[in-house]
């Protein structure tokens, strides 16, 4: 939600979304393919740098968006770092039912690699979503000839998530103001009622939305005027150059 708000303040908002999508996807794949600590770190830094200097977003907001995936990544990576077995080179170990559990150099390294690879990939997606409103991503996908139905549905879902959440919020308040969340059992009951009524309301509303669309001449396609974006011809060569550099770097390090 906050990311969505930030995207509207980014200075890169008016840039052609196809260019941003191209850079994001290319870098994402190279980052995953390279599976290299240095390259992952470079990708992360470049993406933060782009959002900060080119997008003009506050650094604290950019870093804050990384908080959520960091927690998940950290928890996920811990399970990778731990090894079972009787290998002698444990840095730290404990014995459970005669089997050693702990981590050693190789497993720690593997976990760190994985951690930064995933974070690098996430940073690519964050660059895109912090600097491109969702609607613009859809219009880029439209130019890539994705099916109309899929795009129209995504647009409606995106638009009405906010109304759905708003409705849920109002019902929650109405329930809470009457002690609906007073006890544990009561909370369960109230939450059930809330979910049920949000969905019946959404169903009723979808009928109303359909009628409103009809009244403006809807014929099955959400036809709207496409926005005109600023186009920077340098983005494609620069994105390719940057990724070639990463690939060469990877090759050199392997050699």
């Amino acid at each position: 939600m906050r990311m969505d708000r930030l995207a509207f303040t980014s200075k890169l908002k008016g840039e052609d979304p196809l260019e941003k999508l191209f850079y994001t996807v290319l870098t994402l794949f190279v980052c995953i393919w390279a599976d290299n600590l240095l390259i992952s770190c470079m990708v992360i830094i470049v993406n933060i740098f782009l959002s900060y200097f080119k997008g003009g977003l506050p650094l604290s907001s950019i870093l804050k968006t990384f908080k959520a995936p960091l927690t998940f990544l950290f928890l996920g990576v811990i399970t990778v770092a731990f090894e079972f077995g009787n290998s002698p080179d444990y840095l730290w170990k404990m014995e459970i039912f005669g089997i050693y559990v702990g981590f050693h150099n190789a497993s720690l390294l593997k976990a760190t690699h994985l951690f930064f690879k995933a974070l690098g990939a996430v940073s690519c997606l964050f660059f895109l979503s912090l600097n491109t409103p969702f609607k613009d991503i859809l219009s880029a996908l439209e130019r890539l000839k994705l099916p109309r139905l899929f795009l129209d549905l995504s647009e409606l879902i995106y638009r009405f998530i906010f109304t759905l959440l708003g409705t849920a919020d109002k019902i929650y308040l109405a329930q809470a103001s009457r002690q609906g969340y007073g006890s544990f059992v009561q909370s369960y009951k109230s939450m059930g009622l809330l979910i049920a009524s949000v969905f019946t309301k959404a169903y009723k509303r979808s009928d109303d939305v359909y009628e409103a669309l009809l009244s403006r001449g809807y014929e099955g396609d959400l036809k709207v005027l496409q926005e005109e974006y600023r186009s920077n011809k340098m983005v494609y060569p620069l994105a390719i150059l940057f990724n070639l550099f990463l690939i060469v770097l990877k090759m050199l390090m392997e050699a």
């Binding site: 969702f134 647009e155 638009r159 939305v209 409103a212 001449g217 709207v224 005027l225």
Partner: protein, 281 residues
Amino acid sequence: MEPIVKVKGLSYTYPDGTKALNNVGLEIFPSNTIAFLGGNGAGKSTLFKCLNGILKPTCDLYQFQGEEVDYSKKSIAKLRESVGIVFQDPDIQLFSANVYQDISFGPMNMHLTNDEVRARVERAMKATGVEELKDRPTHFLSHGQKKRVAIAGVLAMEPKLIILDEPTAGLDPKGVSELLNILKTLKEELNMVILIATHDIDIVPLYADYCYVMDEGKLVFSGSPEEIFKEPERIRSLSLRLPRIAHLMEILKKEDGLDIEGMPSTISEARKEILKNEKRD
């Protein structure tokens, strides 16, 4: 003068058997503002949906600008271009996350050139004062702003007749006055026929040239605001009330014996009548 809308014997029954409209007949003349009054469930919204072609009623006659509407696919498409509805809840009407694109939706469906659509969107945004909201996402707008964008979305189709369902509902005083200014622009500069359903009785004598009062799916009463408010008993029996000013004048006349002609229901009319009495004393 030829009426722009002529309806005779229009009835509509919902699939569940509720009879929402019963033998409605009306005539609407060019450059008029018509108020539709009536309690909740009187059938106002259903009537509007029939006029725009969302619902298909049975009727003896529906003429729009002298042309018969037969609810065929072609005539419905034409109807939707000529009759625009602004729904009560703007959250229902605004489907796009982008203000500009939402406004362009109606004219795009009319198969116009992109340049023509762009020009229409610009004009509609100017008339409703939403130019500065152009780049904002729909879901971060206030209720009043959403309402104005919804009006712009209908206005961009440049309909002959615009219907506003409860346009002032849920707006703060500033929002109401902005909306009424838009109504004035539509009426005076764009010369549009405006239909409003409203519970806000106080705006009726200010903006409406003619009123229809509905009850239980029927048109029960019609006339100019002066004619309608001259019959307070009848108005009250239909779960409506007089405008506050008219109510005050009614009391001054009955209880305090002021000599008041007709039923003044706007501030300026009431002022004139009170000053007239003052001079006489």
